[in-house]
Amino acid sequence: MLRIESIKDGTVIDHITAGQALNVLKILHITPSSKETVSMAMNVSSKKIKRKDIVKIENRMLKKEELNKIALIATNATINIIKDYKVVEKYNVKVPEIVKGIIKCRNRNCITNLEEIDTKFKLESKDPLILKCAYCEMKTDTIEFL
């Protein structure tokens, strides 16, 4: 079924909203210079959601708070922690109450866009997803990455 091989140790992020796999890597700060082996499948058909992306990261156990940020762009994503080819932990991502960094404030006149300051957002609502900038207090439902 899966078009990419199963991994021995690492993290599999499944049920990613189709088209968001690259943004998932961005959120997890995985770049071409990262040492992990990453495999990706895009537009895979799925029972749970119509089309999905899958990301597999070998030999890296990601922290929960890091992974929960994925919920900002893929609310249905599930995390599988793999050890010795077996799923040892499985959970759904959950939008964090406070999101630091990664997202850009859409208010051009916000202090975070004028000074070198880490952004910070508070979760206003999960569904629909609304975040509020902790500095300028502007609310947004559109996620724009830094």
């Binding site: 404030c105 208010n107 006149n109 916000c110 202090i111 975070t112 004028l114 000074e115 070198e116 300051i117 900038c133 902790a134 500095y135 300028c136 207090e137 502007m138 609310k139």
Partner: protein, 308 residues
């Protein structure tokens, strides 16, 4: 109620109705005996960091601090262009925080005061951030309404630039904590932002919107007038389209308004209020200025722990 000692004053959203009422009560105590406060903040230093000019807000804070026996130090005039070069905002406030016991920040960018409060150890008062919050103005507006007995069961009209005016945003937000109706009168392009309208709906606040003051002047108890501020407009042609588009005149008030209508204005004003109104019982805007000093004295004293 949270303690006021060492607290930052950044945004009206941080305050409950009970806390606002407490600040207004303390301001009333100060008003009754301002000279009794003359040495409460001996040896305390207030730093004034105005990254955008505002002589009145700055002088009001200075006056309040001096009346409490404290001293002020001032960053001096800074224009927007010098903000870009030289030391970062972050470094500037970190350094100046070491010179003073508390600071007031006014800045053209939204969120600047909140950010400052996170990185310095002394209390920070927001003296206005971009089109964002201006809590001390709001508190003095509320104090004026309270003193005039117009903070409960009244209809408050707000006229002017409702889109960009931070004074209006802060005030409308705070008024949702009180039992008042609101009437918004604005040129069509300057409606309140959606987030405030949503907040009003969520809190079941009765409000009315219109584009012409003549239609509603007879229904309101307070008229809060704002000036259209050129510098807040991202597009200057948008400004010229609405500047001078309304004016409150004596003849309008005499013929249509309630006898005990009061006029408030955050000042400075231009042509939006006819000069003849200044010496009528309607005009309360100069009294507002006086009240502003008492409110700021109350806040400075509360933050420094000399008032309970």
């Amino acid at each position: 109620m949270k303690m006021f000692k060492n607290r930052d004053i950044i945004s009206m959203v941080d305050f409950s109705r009970e806390e606002i009422d407490h600040i207004l009560d303390v301001a009333e105590r100060v008003e009754k005996d301002p000279t009794g406060c003359h040495d409460l903040l001996n040896n305390k230093i207030l730093a004034l960091l105005f990254f955008e000019p505002s002589t009145r807000t700055r002088m009001s804070f200075e006056s309040a601090m001096y009346k409490l026996g404290g001293k002020c130090i001032d960053l001096g005039a800074i224009d927007a262009s010098s903000l870009k070069k030289g030391e970062s905002f972050t470094d500037t406030i970190k350094v100046i925080s070491k010179y003073a016991d508390l600071m007031v920040i006014r800045h053209p960018a939204e969120g600047a005061a909140r950010y400052a409060s996170e990185i310095v150890d002394i209390p920070v008062i927001n003296g206005g951030d971009g089109t964002g919050q201006h809590p001390t103005q709001t508190l003095l507006d509320l104090f004026t309404l309270k003193k005039e007995n117009k903070l409960e069961r009244v209809n408050i009209g707000i006229l002017g630039d409702l889109r960009y005016s931070r004074t209006v945003h802060s005030l409308v937000y705070a008024l949702t904590l009180y039992n008042v109706d609101m009437t918004f009168i604005y040129p069509p392009s300057l409606r309140l932002p959606d987030w405030i309208l949503e907040h009003l709906i969520k809190n079941d606040i009765r409000y009315k919107e219109c584009n012409n003051i003549d239609e509603v002047i007879g229904d309101i108890d307070v008229l809060y007038i704002t000036r259209i501020q050129k510098e807040r407009f991202p597009d200057i042609s948008e400004y010229y389209a609405v500047s001078d588009s309304y004016k409150v005149t004596k003849s309008l008030l005499v013929s249509k308004a309630k006898d005990d209508l009061i006029l408030l204005h955050p000042l400075p004003k231009k042509n939006e209020i006819e000069k003849e109104l200044d010496d009528t019982p309607y005009a309360k805007y100069f009294l507002q200025v006086e009240y502003g000093v008492y409110v700021r004295m109350a806040l400075l004293g509360l933050i420094m722990g000399v008032f309970d």
